[in-house]
Symmetry: C2
Subunit: 206 residues, 2 copies
Amino acid sequence: MDECITADANRPVAASAVLGGTAITSRIAFERGATVFVAGMLGRPWRVVEGLVRLDREGLNGPEFGGLARVGDVIGAETLMFDRYTYTAVALLPLTLEPWCHGTAIEREHGLLLALARSERRMADVLALRGGRAAERIRRLFGYIAEAIGYRDAQTPCIPMLRLRDIADITGLQVETVSRTISQLSDHGEISPLARRQVQLNYSPD
Amino acid sequence: MDECITADANRPVAASAVLGGTAITSRIAFERGATVFVAGMLGRPWRVVEGLVRLDREGLNGPEFGGLARVGDVIGAETLMFDRYTYTAVALLPLTLEPWCHGTAIEREHGLLLALARSERRMADVLALRGGRAAERIRRLFGYIAEAIGYRDAQTPCIPMLRLRDIADITGLQVETVSRTISQLSDHGEISPLARRQVQLNYSPD
DNA sequence: CGCAAGATTGACCGCCCTCAATTGATGTGG
DNA sequence: CCACATCAATTGAGGGCGGTCAATCTTGCG
């Protein structure tokens, strides 16, 4: 695994973006809002160990939302074919990544299969966040985040709050609509805003 | 490749569903609306040679739209891990599939990498079909289909028409809204309905 | 023909978008 | 420490787009 780290050092564009990441052993940590990598830059694939990642691709007018990656998902797999990232990755929650490179051919194939199977599920999950009423979308997104951070089943799920801008991009709503809808959910007792930008979910995330 | 066909014969649930498919050499053809496979049934992965596939997964109230697969995309890759399909696949256009199984370990790994890289793009593409105004979504979907069937750049793109129900599910709109929006696009000259359920696009699908 | 599924059209209204202004949170330099 | 700039979030007013229900028309098929 060490070759992943050493190879990591000679990425040309990586320096500024990954500067925010703190390297511990072979893993890299990012804080909320940090840019993990940018479309077009050289790099390698990563596996999400903890946190939530937002993927964007270059649209006609600036970057547009292109997907989410949760714990266990692989991001930047396309670098194994094209060397460069096709998407920009931003940490929506405190994030921990580890290099995604396997030893033997058997292990590599198994890992690829797992990543491919997961990607189909990701697509359906993220699509579901763009269907139905505004309240439904945000409820589902919060449930999705609760599963992403691995909430304790015993107690009620408590998730960190995202920026409204990100919630809007993910759900396909407007920021103002998100603000109003979250207020409604709070009034109806479905969620309870806590200190330090945390939200408690008073419903089970299924 | 022959082992794919022979192994194909002993799929338990497959009989009824794949009955609509006509086997030529190692490929299988389906007509519009045919069910390729159903969630939960035993099977193998396939690669889309021609056509367009709709993927659904079981939601709380019936099946819900979970993604699209175009020419080159792999569907049912999860069977390599779990033996059974997790999604239901329906042909939205006349469809041709071929078994997705590679010979050597090198070829397998390369194919897996390609499929994984494509899957990230698929997610962003399908997500884009659920954002923006109704007219935008349908314009993008038609452009997506034009690329899916490999339109001739020389002439204006001409695509087969989907059922409004499918367009509605994909774009996250209602059937009535789809009907009205397509009429508007036709009135504005952006599309021209032709005979035999074909639509000519008077804009470039980019 | 007669049935069923799909598509169209109309009327109504509610949800969400849009624009705008205000407040709050955060960071920076004097 | 405060003034200031910047970004994020909230709130209001208004209108349009799309959802919803219903009826009608078209298409396909046995």
